[in-house]
């Protein structure tokens, strides 16, 4: 915290970037309504964050896979740490500033880059100071270890939500108790009360959203695949930031209808569609536009992401809101497939997706700062190789551009497309 410049609030910059993208999108003839809605949602989200600080609101900074529906039902403004960092990387391209700040804050380069960046963001006051820090072990070890330091940086209290690995009745009951403790903690520190009716409404919305996610999964099985690679992050962010909120339902309905129309018209996200891919883990976010262009150039499309977007519907019960929040936490594809010991069901999901989405190959984005991502390279690759699906393992980072260059990524992708073509 050396100069006034480093204290610049990046939320304001994010808001300006969202509005600029929205203006550009409005003038793009191929821009879908859902894409416009997405940027409006981001605008609203970061505007809420801004207002929370300006209008005596209560700002809860939280780690990934935290049940935001609880916060919305209590009138507390959420600030999703990881999404804020990667949205910054994507829209502002100033991730280096966050990562340098993270290094100043004492974050070693081996740590997950979004976590380094967000620590740096708080350290240099590029992000607004949170009133509470909420963190959980779902699904990431870094998240589990991040909370105390974030509390220190924000000089605020915090709550660790302990999510059990398994989903037995006892473990689900334990998780319900954890949520109750967290609600008491939030009531004490925010002065706000839980609105149980609002939470029940959120659960009803979540039920619709999971159904919509599952429908979208079905639509993406079509040949050609209707969903462009670059919009994968939208799909994640909507759930991470707006779970249980009506705008997320509206977005998903619009997206589903758009995809259904494309499927009916046999229109694909790329033309001609030459390579249907499965992608595992998250592509380098700062290269997402470059990857989209490369995929367009080669006629490649990510038809399925079994670890992130492969939702399976199971009903939630609004009359049991906390139990439903817990149930939903086990339905999230990431937690279903990656949390805790790796089970046969995850490998089966991968096999099922390879078959159902008729994939030609798989790109494994081995995010080097993520233990989860790198630990499973061999098993996932062997699983796919057994069913004759070639796998490209691309060592990369989510937001840190120093790990590999664009030309290196291009070379490897081109080699892989050549391998697929030559089979």
């Amino acid at each position: 915290m050396t100069t006034s410049e480093t204290k610049r609030n990046h939320i304001e910059s994010l808001l300006r970037a969202c509005r600029l993208v929205s203006r550009i999108n409005k003038n793009r003839p191929d821009c879908k309504k859902s894409e416009l809605m997405y940027y409006q949602m981001l605008d609203k989200y970061f505007n809420n964050v801004q207002r929370a600080k300006q209008e005596n609101g209560f700002l809860a900074a939280h780690t990934i896979f935290f049940p935001v529906e609880i916060l919305y039902a209590m009138g507390i403004t959420p600030l999703h740490n990881e999404v804020t960092t990667w949205t910054t990387a994507l829209l502002l391209g100033n991730q280096a500033e966050f990562l340098t700040a993270g290094a100043e804050a004492g974050m070693a380069p081996e740590i997950c880059s979004p976590h380094r960046g967000l620590a740096g963001g708080f350290y240099r006051q590029m992000l607004p100071r949170a009133d509470v820090i909420l963190w959980t072990n779902l699904i990431c070890d870094n998240s589990a270890k991040a909370g105390e330091y974030l509390m220190e940086l924000n000089r605020c209290p915090g709550f660790f939500l302990d999510h059990p690995f398994g989903d037995t009745q006892e473990e689900q009951a334990y998780m319900v108790e954890e949520l109750k403790d967290m609600i008491s903690f939030l009531e004490k520190h925010s002065g706000r009360k839980m609105n149980w009716d609002k939470l029940a409404q959120s659960v009803a919305e979540m039920d619709k959203q999971i159904k919509l996610h599952a429908e979208i999964c079905q639509l993406r099985k079509a040949i050609p695949s209707p969903f462009p690679t670059r919009r994968f992050l939208e799909f994640l962010t909507v759930d991470y930031m707006f779970a249980g909120q009506p705008e997320a339902t509206e977005y998903l309905v619009t997206l589903r209808d758009e995809l259904a129309e494309m499927v009916q018209q046999k229109k694909g996200a790329v033309y001609p569609e030459r390579f249907r891919l499965m992608t595992l883990f998250v592509p380098p976010i700062y290269l997402i536009a470059f990857l989209e262009n490369l995929f367009q150039e080669y006629g490649a499309v990510s038809a399925t992401e079994p670890l992130f977007t492969y939702w399976k519907y199971s009903p939630l019960d609004p009359s049991k809101p906390l139990e439903s929040v817990v149930k939903k936490s086990y339905l999230i594809p990431e937690s279903r497939t990656m949390y805790g010991p790796l089970g046969e069901s995850t490998l089966q999901d991968i096999r099922d997706c390879a078959r159902d989405y008729r994939v030609d190959g798989c790109i494994y984005y081995a995010f080097m700062g993520c233990r989860h991502t790198c630990a499973t390279v061999k098993m996932f690759k062997d699983t796919l190789n057994e069913i004759d699906i070639p796998v490209l393992t691309l060592d990369c980072d989510l937001v840190d551009p120093t790990i590999n260059s664009q030309s290196e990524v291009r070379d490897k992708m081109e080699q892989f497309f050549e391998l697929l073509e030559d089979r």
Binding site: K378, N385, P390, V391, T393, D395, E408, D411, E414, Q415, E418, L419, D422, R423
Partner: protein, 262 residues
């Protein structure tokens, strides 16, 4: 029309000309004034030694500088070319180890000479030809004499560094020990450190017989000896291991000509 393969590497550019299914000529030149002029010079040299008379050429370029060759009809990835080249020379080969100047690549190939999987080491010079060259300089031994020293060694010095710079420090510390580690043992240790990195790549893909070793480092008998010891079986080394990617590119050019692609 003759099929030509050009492999534009970081140190050398290689050209192979095919007539039917046989390589009629090849040439290798050091990259000097940029990729394109060097490639043209290598091609000219290959043309002269082939005694071709004004034949039209169909050229496939590969290697790190392959995309820079404006006079080629097509550019292909080095992995595809290596697979074709090795399959042509050794149809039974199912794995390829390519140790070039700056990269190490291990491929799995099928019975049609197609790549089924690959893994590369391109983040650090350790384990590459450049590394071996740097080590030879430190050891004050010519590259071609490295094998002789290595094969004479009764033991191998421990060189555990996974980074070229750290490995160099280890080698220097062996030289300055009292008494110094014998030269033979240090050089055998250098070969063993390279092999250990390559074994990691081979195991990642799953080792399958037969294994062909190509690239300039395959000319180093000491390296090959250590690799064979680690694998527990003999590997296949072509007569001109540096030319295999160019040969593969020429085979791809020939395939294109046969398909009527111009």
């Amino acid at each position: 029309m003759k099929a030509v393969g050009l492999d534009v590497g970081s140190l050398n550019v290689k050209a192979v000309i095919l007539d039917g299914s046989s390589a009629v000529s090849f040439a290798m030149l050091t990259v000097s004034e940029g990729a394109e002029p060097s490639a043209r010079a290598a091609l000219d040299e290959a043309i002269i030694s082939s005694k071709l008379n004004g034949d039209e050429l169909y050229i496939v370029a590969t290697g790190v500088g392959g995309k820079a060759i404006s006079f080629s009809q097509q550019q292909k990835a080095i992995t595809t070319c290596l697979a074709r080249g090795v399959h042509y020379l050794f149809p039974a080969a199912r794995m390829v180890v390519d140790v070039g100047a700056e990269t190490t690549t291990v491929l799995k190939i099928n019975d049609r000479g197609r790549v089924t999987d690959w893994a590369g080491q391109d983040k650090c010079a350790a384990g590459t030809g450049m590394f071996l060259q740097a080590m030879a300089k430190i050891m004050q031994v010519s590259l071609k004499d490295m094998a002789e020293y290595s094969l004479r060694a009764k033991n191998r010095a421990d060189i555990t560094g996974t980074c070229a710079v750290f490995a160099e420090s280890e080698v220097i510390s062996h030289i300055h020990r009292v008494p110094p580690t014998p030269k033979e043992e240090i050089i055998a240790g250098i070969h063993a450190s390279m092999v250990s990195r390559i074994m990691g790549l081979l195991k990642r893909l799953g080792i399958e017989k037969e294994v062909a070793v190509v690239g300039g480092v395959a000319l180093d008998g000491g390296f090959i000896h250590v690799l064979e010891e680690e694998l527990g079986f003999k590997v296949l080394v072509p007569e001109n291991p540096q030319m295999v990617a160019a040969l593969g590119a020429a085979i791809l050019a020939k395939e294109n000509l046969e398909k009527g692609v111009r």
